[in-house]
């Protein structure tokens, strides 16, 4: 090693052994590395929603200001959940450590930290379970893979359970179907009992609780923003599209992720949707309360997720709509598809969704009464109800990223692809092992799309970016389409770092570009207000 005060010489540098010493994972203490974790939540957000142990705290500090009885709280929490969720109990018991899942997590693949292997991530909690809830663990301790719940263990759980995006890729490869996403969800619930959430998650939770959306925007701002988009649509198409807010008696309630109303490139998705609905004369309304499909409560606890989603059905009821159409969002879809019905279903006050344009019955949505917009639009195209000019997207060479939630939680694979192929002339798939149910996560899901953990996100997103790089080099792909608001927030950053020159868009932005509207002016601009190459604009 170099002597103190003098920089090492290159020769010396090359001799440093960077190989960490071999030690068992239980004896490798957690080191909090900057860029890998987020700020701890502020007390005010927890207080706003009545969550326990609210205090300002920082993960970087030694003292997490835990309540004195923290250990009992966690153990009681585990016990309750073992009783309540059979899956959790089974997942704690049955892993045979075959290792099939070990190299399937994007955080391990991109970062190389062994504790990001799903099998080890589970083991972090499983070891505590063994210690306190199994006979072997109680008596044989470490020899039986059991360990005491100490503050260090708690910190390790926090560190690694907020390095899992609950994407479920690992579960696909597990012969037993052990779902680390569920273990992470429960692990985070336990941490929440101690007030140990992220600021980035709790801020949107508190805001959603108050106003219905992540940013805490009030109804007039939502309305103004949508009208602002309508102005832009008019500039581009010459048509002033109509829409309504909180209109009683509308046939359909449309619920989009709020990111599409305020951010780019999500905004262009909402513009495409406004244009589409206008063109087909859809009888729909926005709600300024149920104005957020996203639900960061899901990254907090089941109860909180339920609390925040109450607005969806209650608004549908208040407005007297027949059914609900959901926008391009990832975890919104997981929740609507898999939880709404369980929490409150069947929603008998609504009707089984039927497309008013094609007459198609969406039987898959019989229970929840919520249809995903790509199902709706694909059906319109299938029935020839849209006039499309895909050449308006000719400057784009598009690939499609399956979001973890829409693919693994529901199996929406074909609809977005069918739409893209009808509105674009150049579509290329990424390699088979990186798409559809095997898709790689964007690296920023489940509330981890903050700024302070950007290194983590760039690592976790690398497997995805690597597959995009392949189609970029092979086919000249310059646009990464998706149907998730977190993707639209996170992937532009990921692309700028790994694959500069590849843009990111939602599917309905492409629809909006290609949609030929009755009475429109000749299009020279795309939805981003940029000149359309070869269409009167310059290239």
């Amino acid at each position: 090693m170099a002597t103190k005060g003098k920089p090492p010489k290159p020769e010396e540098l090359s001799k440093i052994d960077y190989t960490p010493p071999k030690r068992g994972w239980m004896d490798t203490p957690v080191v909090f590395k900057p860029g890998m974790y987020c700020h701890g939540t502020r007390a005010k957000y927890l207080e706003a929603v009545g969550m326990p142990n609210a205090r300002d705290w920082s993960p970087a500090e030694e003292d997490w200001k835990l309540p004195p009885e923290w250990k009992e709280i966690v153990l009681k929490g585990i016990k309750e959940r073992l009783q309540k969720y059979r899956t959790f109990h089974v997942f704690m018991d049955i892993c045979v450590r075959c290792g099939a899942c070990a190299d399937k997590c994007h955080f391990f693949l991109g970062g190389g930290d062994p504790k990001n292997m799903p099998v080890l991530r589970a083991e972090l909690l499983r070891s505590v379970y063994r210690k306190y809830f199994t006979t072997a663990g109680k008596f044989f301790g470490k020899a039986a893979g059991a360990r005491e719940l100490t503050e260090d263990v708690l910190k390790e759980l926090w560190y690694y359970y907020f390095q899992c995006t609950e994407c479920r890729r690992c579960s696909l490869f597990c012969p037993y179907g052990i779902d680390q996403a569920e273990i992470t969800i429960i692990g985070r619930e336990l941490l929440n009992l101690l007030g140990l959430n992220l600021d980035w998650i709790m801020g949107p939770v508190a805001n959603s609780y108050r106003t219905g959306n992540h940013l805490g925007l009030e109804p007039h701002t939502i309305k103004a923003n949508i009208e602002f988009m309508i102005d832009d649509i008019e500039t581009i198409t010459g048509i002033r599209v109509e829409t309504t807010f909180n209109r009683k008696g509308a046939e359909i309630l449309f619920v989009a992720p709020s990111g599409d109303l305020f951010g780019v490139p999500g905004n262009y998705v909402a513009m495409g949707e406004l244009m589409l609905f206008h063109e087909i004369g859809l009888d729909y309304t926005w709600s300024t309360l149920a104005c957020e499909g996203g639900n960061f409560g899901f990254f907090t606890s089941m109860e909180m997720a339920k609390k925040l989603y109450y607005k969806i059905y209650s608004e549908a009821k208040r407005l007297g709509v027949k059914w609900i159409l959901g926008g391009e969002c990832g975890h919104q879809w997981r929740l609507m598809n898999q939880y709404l019905d369980t929490w409150w279903g069947p929603a008998d006050f609504l009707e089984e969704p039927v497309s008013p344009i094609t007459g198609t019955k969406f039987e898959n949505a019989k229970g929840s009464k919520v249809v995903h917009i790509t199902e709706f639009t694909a059906d319109l195209i299938r029935h020839g109800k849209l006039k499309l000019d895909p050449s308006r997207n000719d400057h784009l060479r598009v690939t499609f990223h399956d979001s973890c939630n829409t693919s693994r939680a529901m199996g929406i694979f074909e609809e977005p692809r069918y739409i893209i192929k009808n509105v674009c002339n150049h579509f290329y798939e990424m390699p088979e092992s990186t798409i559809r149910e095997k898709t790689f996560c964007c690296g920023s899901g489940s509330g981890l799309n903050a700024g302070e953990n950007i290194e983590l996100r760039m690592r976790g997103g690398f497997p995805r970016a690597n597959a995009v790089k392949y189609v970029k080099e092979k086919f000249g792909v310059n646009m990464l389409a998706n149907i998730c608001a977190i993707d639209r927030a996170a992937l532009p950053t990921l692309m700028d770092y790994w694959n500069p020159g590849v843009g990111v868009c939602g599917v309905h932005e492409l629809v909006g570009n290609a949609l030929v509207m009755k009475g429109e002016i000749e299009r020279t601009l795309d939805l981003r207000g940029e000149p359309l190459p070869g269409k009167g604009g310059t290239d």
Partner: protein, 178 residues
């Protein structure tokens, strides 16, 4: 030419050793995986490093390496290490490993008495070449880190772009009339 021939003859084994040294900077379980999993999409880090090192080796044995070709190769490896658990020096130190590896190969091949005349001089010129690459690597590392900071700022702006625009907090620069 002595050195070039020496290296060309042993190309695959030397570049394999170089790759191995780089991979060994990761925890041992990870290193094993990075080395053994051959699917480029299932092992993006390992395969990017492997490809990068192979091609770098081909370049640095040239008398006049082509910087245009070398930069993207260095970039492919450093871009990964710049966001992993490495300090700046750790992230770029892999460049120097090749010197060591070749030196060891000399030791294995020659004794002092049969050391070919002129090889030492050629090797010290080679070392200077590697040092120049190291300097380029530091620049690349810095650019990656700067990019990370820039992206953080841009992302926050994107998320609320329309709100800021509406509140007249973002004003697009007016069209130029000339």
């Amino acid at each position: 030419m002595l050195l070039k021939d020496f290296l060309l003859e042993r190309k695959s084994s030397l570049s394999a050793k170089w790759f191995e040294r780089v991979v060994e900077t990761y925890p041992s379980e990870t290193a094993k995986f990075l080395k053994n999993q051959k699917d480029p999409f299932g092992n993006p880090v390992g395969s990017t490093i492997l490809q990068g090192i192979d091609n770098l080796f081909n370049q640095i044995i040239e008398d006049e390496p082509d910087t245009e070709k070398i930069l993207p190769l260095l970039d492919s490896i450093i871009r990964i290490r710049a966001i992993q658990d490495f300090s700046a020096s750790e992230a770029v130190a892999f460049i120097f490993y090749i010197k060591d590896i070749i030196r060891q190969e000399f030791e294995r091949t020659y004794t002092n008495s049969n050391y070919p005349a002129g090889l030492r001089e050629e090797f010290s010129r080679f070392e200077a070449k590697v040092d120049r690459l190291a300097l380029l690597s530091f620049d690349i590392y810095m650019r990656c880190r700067e990019k990370i900071y820039e992206l953080k700022a841009q992302e926050v702006k994107n998320m609320t772009y329309r709100l800021l625009q509406q509140a007249k907090l973002i004003v697009e620069s007016p069209e130029r009339s000339d």
